[in-house]
Symmetry: C2
Subunit: 131 residues, 2 copies
Amino acid sequence: MKLSSKARYGLKAMCYLANNYEIGTKSLPTMAADLDISEKYLEQLLGVLRKSTLVDATRGASGGYVLAKNPYDISIGEILRVLEDGLVIVDCLQGGCSNQCNCSTYDVWKKLYKEINSFLDTMSLGSIVEK
Amino acid sequence: MKLSSKARYGLKAMCYLANNYEIGTKSLPTMAADLDISEKYLEQLLGVLRKSTLVDATRGASGGYVLAKNPYDISIGEILRVLEDGLVIVDCLQGGCSNQCNCSTYDVWKKLYKEINSFLDTMSLGSIVEK
DNA sequence: AATAAAGCCTAGTAAATTAGTAGGAGATTG
DNA sequence: CAATCTCCTACTAATTTACTAGGCTTTATT
């Protein structure tokens, strides 16, 4: 039940982009330096976030990354589901589980899954970086 | 953010013991066979649960395991914290984090941690196995 | 008292996952 | 056209997880 560093760094990167939303795009080298993450690793995370249309990227010289929408329109749940394999806590929640019927644990995992997701969906990226 | 099989099997074992609470102790070989888990692996999980005083064990021939308290007095949170390393979702929640102050992600993890724990503490083992 | 049936303990190993590296190809700007 | 950037994919190292193994201790039964 530990969060992956993908999720930890990924959310940090999103916070960073939220703080720079008004300013404009930030290049990978800049971000990596500011966040103190290896360029190559951060690049992968941003790639995932871009493919999920949470960030936009512009290529070429003076290119970089920006949030694709207003930080207040992005929920933390959205972000983490992208970075953390859908936030599925046990495989049988998505794959279908043979034990599903004869054990009461399945219901626990299902409820916990729902709880986590709905909780994280109530928080927006905007709200957590303001202050 | 996947649950370990330790937690999955461990909770199953606890449900099993809850169902047999009135009946009495169940031996490891019996449990392992019924739950379809290797004896040796299950033994380790039960060892952990015993050390946390969630189950009682009696040694020697015709010995075995029972819940240490009424299933309604054991919360799922209690059980999972024992099996899942305190349910700490990121290390900095317990170790102290250098980034704690300059990033807003720490608060997210903290709130999520609290949410998960308080949710799981509202469910008792008794309530999930009844019916 | 002997034996068998249990739990206890700890070390070790194999498999899987995660974290991080590397390098080159394609775009864009000045 | 050169510099600066993103994009893509394969690979490797490190860590964690899941599981196995074996010997010791305790207790009930005969």
